[in-house]
């Protein structure tokens, strides 16, 4: 369980949101909603310590994450709003790189199953350069499975995906939650996840 305690975020000279408290529980998806510029990305970056909040802290396993950063990092998968797959490598090379980077124990069959389920098999040996936006996004989302982490932090994961893929990712997240995992993501697109809670940033807007 992750607790966010009294978080205030400032970008430039403007306070985006003020005194935000929320709880990310095991097995329940936390969905952040809000207008453009309401601080969805900033909030996600604060949760994974890529942005330092003006005040407040994130508490994980009863301790502030700043006191236990290395351990905390080893439990996170963060998928940003842009894709980190390299254009000049093929799909399979990118996935292999992530596998080796994270020291993942994923088996070859699971690997292939993953590729099949996202309809990427025929593009397996294509350079990422030639993939469409949605396919690049799907490739990025394979990191969820490859990295085998407990806390999933996703920034607009469904943007540019077709309905089938959205369903598959939704199921993946549901499975993960059923295994007592945590997931927090921002999204405008409704997903079929049974256990979910919302954080509406528009309510916390400061002016």
């Amino acid at each position: 369980m992750i607790l966010a305690n009294n978080i205030t975020c400032r970008r430039g000279s403007k306070i985006i949101f003020r005194n935000l408290d929320f709880k990310i529980e095991d097995g329940i998806a936390t969905i952040i909603s809000g207008k453009n510029g309401s601080g969805k990305t900033s909030l996600l970056r604060i949760v994974c310590n890529l942005l330092v909040p003006k005040s407040g802290e994130i508490i994980w396993k009863g301790k502030s994450i700043y006191k236990n950063l290395e351990e905390y990092y080893k439990n996170i998968t963060y998928i940003a709003d842009n894709n980190c797959s390299k254009d000049n490598l093929t799909v399979i090379e990118n996935m292999n790189f992530w596998k080796r980077l994270y020291g993942s124990k994923i088996t070859y069959e699971n690997f292939m199953k993953l590729i099949d389920s996202l309809n990427l098999r025929e593009y397996m040996n294509q350079k990422v350069l030639f993939l469409s936006y949605g396919q690049k996004r799907k490739l990025e989302l394979t990191r969820l499975i490859i990295e085998e982490r407990n806390i999933w932090i996703l920034d607009e994961p469904f943007l540019g995906l077709d309905q089938d893929s959205i369903n598959i990712i939704g199921e993946t997240i549901s499975d993960h939650l059923a295994r007592k995992g945590m997931a927090i993501f921002s999204s405008h697109i409704p997903v079929s996840i049974s256990k979910k809670q919302y954080i509406d940033l528009d309510l916390h807007e400061s002016n």
């Binding site: 994974c48 990092y73 963060y78 842009n82 980190c84 994270y102 020291g103 990295e147």
Partner: protein, 230 residues
């Protein structure tokens, strides 16, 4: 046992970053070829501006080659750091449990292999143009082997400083040039010095190398941290 396993995973992830960077650049060999072409063309421009006087060129050939080495380290002000920053790869490395210091060390090694090693292999061939004695060519290669990693560290420092700056691209090279002044002084000094005293200059150059290895990764990583956490 689990300790050994952890170390194995750590080494594997470091090596995988290095191999991937080399592979990406290998698929875009044009970059390295353009670096070499830049080298030849600037050398020709020096020769045209000085005039084809053999004696003169023999004297200042070493200085020209070292100046161009520094200039070419500014144009290769590293793209791989910028690319990794733009697509958010640094966060991925961070959550893989790698500290930015280690990433900086990997980047120093890979970008030395990519952007300096081709020049070191290539430059002794071009010295034919200047008709240098074999002793000087030997010294040139030695000073380049010691000096070029320093330039790599400096160019990575500059590119790490300029990660969030997308408007004014000349500042990266502005940062490299003044801090690489001592490198060129002692490198060219060692080549041109008398055989008895050249060792002192080489030792100073080596000490600069060791110092830059000691503080370079630290500066690079703190600059990356500043840029990522904004």
């Amino acid at each position: 046992m689990s300790q050994i396993k952890k170390i194995n995973i750590f080494i594997l992830s470091i090596v995988s970053i290095a191999i991937r960077d080399l592979l990406i650049q290998y698929r875009k060999l044009v970059d390295i070829v353009s670096l070499l072409t830049f080298f030849i063309i600037v050398m020709l421009i020096f020769i045209f501006s000085i005039g084809p006087y053999d004696e003169k060129l023999k004297d200042i050939g070493v200085s020209i080659i070292w100046s161009i080495l520094i200039l070419s380290s500014t144009i290769s002000t590293n793209k791989s750091l910028r690319e990794d920053f733009d697509d958010g790869s640094f966060a991925v490395y961070q959550f893989a449990g790698l500290s930015y210091e280690f990433i900086a060390i990997i980047k120093i090694i890979t970008s030395w292999i990519l952007y300096q090693l081709p020049l070191i292999i290539f430059i002794p061939l071009t010295t034919i143009i200047f008709e240098m004695p074999i002793q000087k060519i030997y010294m040139l290669v030695v000073t380049m082997l010691i000096g070029s990693p320093i330039l790599t560290v400096f160019s990575l420092i500059a590119s790490a400083m300029m990660l969030t700056n997308k408007k004014n691209l000349t500042i990266g090279s502005l940062i490299i040039l003044p801090i690489s002044v001592p490198v060129i002084i002692f490198a060219v000094g060692a080549i041109n010095a008398d055989p008895e005293i050249y060792k002192a200059q080489l030792y100073i150059l080596t000490s600069i190398l060791l110092a830059s290895f000691a503080i370079g990764p630290w500066i690079i990583s703190s600059c990356i941290k500043i840029s990522v956490k904004s």
